[in-house]
Structures are given as C-alpha cells and as structure tokens.
Amino acid sequence: MRENLGFALEGAWQVLAVGLLLGAGLPAVFALGIRSLAWGTGGAAEVAADARPHPVGRVLAGLCFLVVVAGIAGGLYVILAAGGIA
C-alpha cells in the first residue's frame, strides 16, 4: 500500500508536468495562433472593428499552428511506439 502510494504520487507528478506542457501549452500556442491570425486579418476578426490587417500576423499564426501540428505528431508517435510500430 505504502509503496503503491509512493509510485502513484511520483507518476502523477510526471503526468501533471507533461500534461501541463502539452495538454495546456499546446492549446495556448494554438490560441496564440488564432490571436495572431485575427490580428493579421484585422477588420471584423477583432472586437475593435477598425483594426488594420497586419500581414506579419499571418506568419506568426502559421508558426504557432506548425508547433501544434508537431505536438500532435508527437502524440501519434507515442501511440505508434506503444504498439511497437514506430
């Protein structure tokens, strides 16, 4: 019982750390991408409707989405590796 509790707490910390990094971090990066896209689009995409479009926002958005896609690829790799395929 004592040993199990120790192992479980240790595991929970590791899962929490990875979870925060990927499970909360990637959505935040995705949100950053959406924000950049809105900034890049301008006009009605933002609440301040007179905002001008900023082309650099689209580039930033692309980078953010790239990071998210890389994270998803990492998740797929874990699934495939667990199945002994990758």
Partner: protein, 405 residues
Amino acid sequence: MTEATLILVLVIGTALAFDFTNGFHDTGNAMATSIATGALRPKVAVALSATLNLVGAFLSVEVALTVTNAVVKVQDSSGAPRPELTADHGYALLLIILAGLVGGVLWNLLTWLIGLPSSSSHALFGGLIGATIAGLGTAGVNWNGDGSELDGVVGEVILPAVMSPVVAGAVAAVGTWLVFRITAGVAERFTERGFRWGQIGSASLVSLAHGTNDAQKTMGVITLALIAGGHWSDTGAVPFWVKLSCALAIALGTYLGGWRIIRTLGKGLVEISSPQGMAAEASSAAVILASSHLGFALSTTHVATGSILGSGVGKPGAQVRWGIAGRMVAAWLITLPAAGLVGAAMWWLGHLLGGYAGPLVVFAVLVALAAYMYRRSQAQPVHPGNVNDEWDGTPATARREEVAA
C-alpha cells in the same frame, strides 16, 4: 458440444458484448465536447470516433494477455492460466471469467441507462474481482502487488482513479484559462471557427488512444479463455480473428453512440464552448498518452470527465453543475464493488447449477437484464436529434421523428 466448449463460446460472446458496451459507453469521452459545441454533427462525430477506435485497436499489437494480472491471480506472469484452474478444459477458470464479464456488462448497461459516464475498465475489473473472490477466496485477488512497482487493485485501479481526474482537471483548467486569456478581444465568431478545428483534432487523438487502450483488454481476456480451454497455446500473440472481432465490436459500439452519456458529458456538467472543448480534449489526450507512455493504467472516462470539469473551472464566469459531478463521483466509487457483487452472484449461480445449466443460466440472466434495461431506455430515448437539447436532467421531449432525419 461439451460443457467446456459451451462455456468457452459463451465467454467469447460475453467478452465481445462487453467490448461493444465499452465502445458506446466511452464515445462521449472523446466526442461529447465536439457534439455539444456543434464542431461536428453528432453522426459525423461518432463515425469519426468509431473509425479511429478501429484503427487504434489494430495498432495495439503489444500483447495484452496479462491484463487480468493487475487485479486477480488466475494467470502466471507469462500469461498462461494457473494450472490448477485448467483441469476439465478450464471450466473453473472460464466460469470465473464469464461471471466477471457479466458483472462488467450489466454495470455498464445500468450506468448507461441513467446516463452516467463510469469507467468500463473498472466495471470489468470489478466483475473479475467479485467472481474471483467467490470462486477462489480473497487470496485470489492481487490487492497490492509485491511492492516493486505500481500494481494490484490499489495501484492499478484505485489510486489512478483518484489521481487521474484531478490531474486532467488541473491541466484542462490551466489550458482553458490560458486560451481565454490569450484570445480576449478577438471576435467570438472568429475564435469559434478556429477552435472547432482544434477540437476535432484533439478529440480524434483521444479516440485513437482509446482504441489502442481499451480493445486490448477484451483481446487479452478472450485469448486467456482460449488458452484455458486448450484452443491456443502461444502466450506471445493474440489470434488474428480475436483482434479483428474485438476491433469491430468496439468500433460498432462507438458508432452506436452512447447518446445518454454523451449528453451528460457535453451538456450536463458544463455549458461548453469550443475553446473549452479544445482545452478539455487536449488535456485528456496529453494525460492519457503521457500515462500510457510511462506505463500507468488509467480510465479514459475518469480523465475525460476531469478535463471537462476543469474546463468549466478555468473559464471565467462559467457555471459548473457540481451536483451532476457529485453523482458521477458516486457512480465511480460504487462501480468496482457493484460490478464485483454481480460478478460474485453470477459465479455462485453458475457454480451451484454447474455443468451445462450453470453457464447457460448465467448467460440467460445477462440477456434478460440487458433486454429489460434496453426497454427501459426506450421510454425516454436520447438520440442524435435531442442529444444537445437544453439541460434539465433529461430531454423534455423525445423527438423520435428526428432520428430519421
């Protein structure tokens, strides 16, 4: 047909039935948020989830033969059944497995009927533990493992069930808070469209992970039964037809869609918006994948429910229906003992009658109770047409005509 062949056939049938209930019981874990926010139409969501579960089940080539070792001692560490149980073509072992599976299926059906997302793995383990206690006594249960790793009922079932929803909820709450913080000031219709894609992607990952995790358990149980009956001897592989039938059973179940549970998860706990849905599913995917990578057992149901609750906590001003959450936690607490009681009762029934009659009567009880619960569900059906109705406990009007639409 000999007694041993009969019970083996019934075990396989019941195991596939369990796999099927596992599918529709857990569709909501991945897809409830996408259905609730309208990111995917209900039918499209269950079709996508079913396909990914099917693919996932085939990806799980790792041998899951020792799945019962986590909770009961009916196999050795290689996966072979304990020799004292395999006399008479494994009749004793098969009766334990059959009774345990019946306990798991019946608990899954009852919680589905009342729309509560409880863990399918807990139902299976609970049934097996109950049947094992009845058949072999409490010494047949692996309560704590040997202390060298996370193992036993405590380590593989109880502790993960306590911790995983908390961890998933914390991650989802942080994620939701960050997302709303970052996108403050962006027009809502703009964010809704973007986050719907994020939601679909993260929910798909959860579906795939579910297929790899859960289908294996049934594959392991069926293969164990085949070995006990002397129809298979390779403890390093699962027969292809077992893999195929389990994959199909879980995918069909998923496609059926457990609409009652989807409704509770998507509408009952929190009024969910796309950014919350994405944060919740991303948290679930990360926690499930990190745990399975590190070798911890957990239930996707506990993780998904924790995540959805967390997404309600993390959104400023969101309302969380804690009463519903409390009912779920209560259901989780009694899943293990309740499925265990059914498993034990079924073993006694089967053992008392013995021979051909025992397993047949146990199976008949399963069919009768399943049919009864299905009929009860039809009095107040939940289906793709009313799954997203405003939450007031149960959908007010059962709009049957929309099923055809």
